[in-house]
């Protein structure tokens, strides 16, 4: 391989490596969907879920900034993190709701039992 040919190959690989990652459209959309899902699940009413919702929003925002500066690869990873946080927020909200409902049902049952056999 001649010297000029090998240089051009190295340049091409470098070009692919730096700016070659495509804009993570699918992840932009899915992370947005996950955040919306967390909001709809009532994450803002549960402290621990709120924390992860905020993390998701911040990381997504950070990822969008990175996309603007051309770092699509790192942006994709941040979006995946945002999505994971949003999904965790949904799960935490669901857990809190289920626990509250179970507690209420147990209390109701106790009240009923007292009514039957005071």
């Amino acid at each position: 391989m001649s010297k000029p040919r090998s240089w051009s190959l190295a340049l091409a690989i470098a070009a692919l490596g730096c700016g070659g990652a495509p804009r993570p459209e699918a992840r932009i959309a899915s992370s947005q969907g996950a955040i919306r899902g967390a909001e709809e699940a009532g994450a803002e009413g549960v402290p621990q879920a709120t924390l992860h919702l905020k993390l998701a929003q911040e990381q997504r925002q950070q990822a969008l900034e990175l996309i603007k500066s051309g770092d699509n690869h790192r942006a994709d990873l941040l979006l995946a993190r945002a999505e994971a946080d949003a999904e965790l927020a949904v799960a935490l909200a669901r857990e809190a709701t289920a626990k509250a409902e179970a507690e209420k049902a147990a209390e109701d049952l106790e009240t009923l039992k007292k009514r039957i056999a005071p």
Partner: protein
Amino acid sequence: MTAATRRPAPLVQHRAIALIACALLFACASAPPPKELVDARDAYRRAEAGAAAKMVPAELHVARESLDAAERSFGDAPTSWDAIDSAYIALRKAQRAEALGNAAVAVKAKEGSDKEARRAQQDLLLTTDAKLRNTEGALAKERDSLAKERESLAKEREATASERAARLAAETKAKDAMDALAKSLAVRSEARGTVITLSGGVVFATGRATILVGAQAQLNQVADALKTQAEHHFSVEGHTDNQGSDRVNDGLSARRANAVRDYLIVRGVSAAAITATGFGSSKPVGDNHTAEGRAMNRRVEIIVDKAP
């Protein structure tokens, strides 16, 4: 330098390169895992030991795959962003599996409580229903018994009223009868009762104990009056004046009293309610020295005793 002495030079070089390569490899292999990966491993272990394995195995599987991917990234490039980010994601997936496992347990607990509450409510309903039926039954019985009591009370009241009316009617009849008697005969009220006096001269012939036909109307009237005094006792007392011996007078007065008693019984007065006694001349009401007084002493008295 000879060839022999020169020969080791490349060997030393190779050894140095190999040592550097080994050191680099060692450095790579012993690079400490990022905090995210440590946390992810712990979180996964927690989720696996908790409810997630049983309640949400699919979610736990996702977390496992995510952790495996993180471990691979760490193996490939321990300090890369890929390794850190994939460990971060694995941590969140493990936490998610744990939370969803807990949520599933809570949902199941709620379903259990709801089911038990429904059963308890059903029992309560049945118990209440049974109690209600019992109360209704008891109430119906009570109502029946009350109605019967009311009916019997009404009958009793009616009986009492008619009894009172009958008694009042009887009393009125008795009073009327005695009043009527008082118009034609000597009737007077004394401590021992009402005394009806029949003159001996009117009822009997002198020295005899046979009731004169002319006196029968008077005695009939007396009998009718006595029959209205159903609850009373009657004493028929015979009396004479002091003419003649006591023995004769006692016998005559007794026969006369009995004659009147018998007559009254024949006329419908109860035999059990009437007695007869002869007193002779022992109880005069007039002066035996005068004809008028003696006439007064010759008498038969019928005493209607005071109320029994």
